[in-house]
Amino acid sequence: MAKLNMVEAINLALREEMERDDRMVILGEDVGREGGVFRVTDGLQEKYGVDRVIDTPLAESGIVGTALGMAVYGVHPVAEIQFEGFLYPCLDQINNHIGRIRNRSRGRFSCPLVIRVPYGGGIHAPEHHSDSPEAILAHIPGIKVVIPSTPYEAKGLLLSSIRDPDPVIFLEPKRIYRAIREEVPEGDYTIPLGHARLVQEGKDVTVVVWGAMVREVLNASEQLKGDKIDVEIIDLRTISPMDTEMIITSIKKTGRGVIVHEAPKTCGLGAEIIALINEKALLSLQAPVERVTGFDVPVPLLKSEHYYLPNPKRIVMAVKKVMSF
């Protein structure tokens, strides 16, 4: 079986789904001729033509607004927004229409589209190329938000996203686009949305994480073995709707929790998860749940980026804090 990185896995998923579903269309800036600035859509226009892999004008709101119109007509658009920093012009369409059209029309019209967006920091990028908007998106009714953490996961989750009858925003952690290489099967397989992944079992503490931070948590967990701390790691996969059940089951077992996310601290998803734990497993807790997050500052340029991003050291500190409460 071929070993692929995340870019190749997503490319494979897109290629196979374009073959399987002739209603699928890919659109975005530079996705066609160039094959995407990260090469994610490489070779697809060659294979499927300019009518199905479309280079659009430079207009983010236009890309997702027209994608809505296509989706309502029965096409399955997979739109790309080049970087999460440029997603914001789309929020009008996403919040005001994409997430609402099914509800507004009581089901007469619906919006089976996917918006793919490279997101997250750690690539020493220019400003606006390192943000994590998942909490903003999770707060919007009517859309789903998915974040893969490995190449295998990316293909399975993307196929589920494309086939979902409702709008999905698929955030791709660009930091690990090429960092991980693993076996990714050709042929159809899906990973269901709304179900988290138990990355590893552990009895001492539950760490909830997603995207590129999964790797940092695994790293921290290795270090913690030296301190005889046994870490259970949950990779959320779907931010919204979240797999609350797996989180709660784990917290009830371990009694201690740490949440890790790159996004700024205030009103990040860490807060939401702690609220859920509060509602459903408060009496199981042996310590307050800790959050290891970015800061309430714009993600800095490369010289300061190492201050911003959560790293294994901060994760280890947080775990030790809850263990010694």
């Binding site: 607004g65 007509y73 009008d92 369409q93 007469r108 019209f109």
Partner: protein, 357 residues
């Protein structure tokens, strides 16, 4: 010369066939038979009366905030009547006329404005999108649908309505631009009713006409007298046929006037005077059709009475039917958000129900 060449926006001519005095310009012929004119006039009367009734219902607390069409009937009737059943319309929020013409029942229309989303569930086969409130955001949808149809080889067109205010929005620019690049079968129909709430047309754009904005995007624009049913009919028909034949998009600017308030929550006396409104009264789209039909022996006071009575009866029934629909159950707030309720939504609905028990 084609209509669009003849009335190229930079030539400064507004396309008109039927003058306010009910006579045609020399050399012009009516595009439809006199019987058809009478039928459409009847529809416009119905729309105006239904619109007035909605205003009244709002004042009585039986309808939510409502945006009246008063004055713009010809724009909507003249443009929808040339569409085929498979075509789609993408309205903003002032399109009672277009919705009814496309086959939305007055009952359903009222249900929406009474505050029940079920009214926006257009019947299968009637391609009328729900009301879109964020100004200028929906022409993109019209472009996308047209684009998808074109890619699939379906010969449908999409028609989207918006006002002069919407042409200042970024999404309008993006929609026009995409339509031009991909030559989508989209008709952009701007109802220039001279106001965006209180902001007059003169403050909205420095362009001499709205129609000429199409030139920048590489396609035809035409300014028509929006109160002239015949001109609206002909211009839209040409645009629709062109689009269906693969000729791409058109921008039609219908010059009209908003006689009523922006919505029932607006008081226009704060920003315009009777003096400003007066000149538009003789240009009323229904008035000139009355004069035209009179001259053809098809309109008399008795005809008006009959049409009005029939309309009011039908409106009465539609309101009765709409008000007979039971208020939505709490479930309805949750069950159409996704194809299948998420665990979170199920839980939240259960909670809501527990608070109502």
């Amino acid at each position: 010369m084609s209509l669009f060449e003849d009335y190229h926006p930079l030539k400064g001519k507004m396309f008109q066939i039927l003058k306010p005095d009910g006579t045609l310009h020399p050399g012009q012929t009516p595009p439809i038979s006199d019987q058809e004119v009478l039928t459409l006039y009847q529809k416009m009367v119905f729309i105006r009366l239904a619109d007035q009734r909605a205003l009244m219902l709002q004042r009585q607390g039986r309808l939510g905030t409502y945006a009246p069409i008063w004055g713009q009937e010809a724009c909507q009737v003249g443009s929808t009547v040339v569409l085929q059943k498979e075509d789609w319309i993408f309205p903003a929020f002032r399109e009672i006329g277009a919705a009814l013409m496309m086959g939305i029942s007055l009952k359903n229309f009222m249900l929406y404005w009474m505050g029940n989303e079920i009214g926006s569930r257009a019947p299968d086969g009637i391609n009328v999108m729900p009301v879109s409130i964020p100004v200028g955001t929906h022409p993109l949808h019209a472009v996308g649908t047209a684009w998808a149809a074109k890619l699939k080889g379906d010969k449908i067109v999409t028609l989207t309505y918006f006002g002069d205010g919407a042409t200042s929005k970024g999404d309008f620019h993006e929609a026009m631009n995409f339509a031009g690049v991909y030559k989508t079968p989209t008709i952009f129909f701007c109802q220039n009713n001279q106001y965006a709430i209180s902001v007059p047309r003169s403050l909205q754009t420095a362009s001499k006409t709205i129609a000429q904005k199409a030139i920048a995007y590489g396609f035809d624009g035409i300014q028509v007298d929006g109160n002239d049913l015949f001109a609206v009919f002909v211009a839209t028909k040409e645009a629709v046929e062109k689009a269906r034949a693969g000729g791409g998009p058109t921008l039609i600017e219908g010059v009209t006037f908003r006689f009523g308030p922006h919505t029932t929550a607006d008081d226009p006396t704060k920003y315009r005077t009777e003096k400003e409104i007066e000149p538009w009264k003789p240009l009323d789209p229904l008035a000139r059709l009355k004069l035209y039909l009179s001259s053809k022996g098809l309109w008399r006071e008795e005809v008006e009475q009959r049409i009005t009575e029939e309309a009011q009866k039908e409106i009465d029934q539609a309101i009765k039917d709409a008000e007979a629909v039971p208020p939505p159950a709490p479930d309805e707030m949750f069950t159409s958000v996704f194809a299948e309720m998420t665990p979170q939504l199920k839980e939240q609905l259960e909670y809501l129900k527990s608070t109502l028990a």
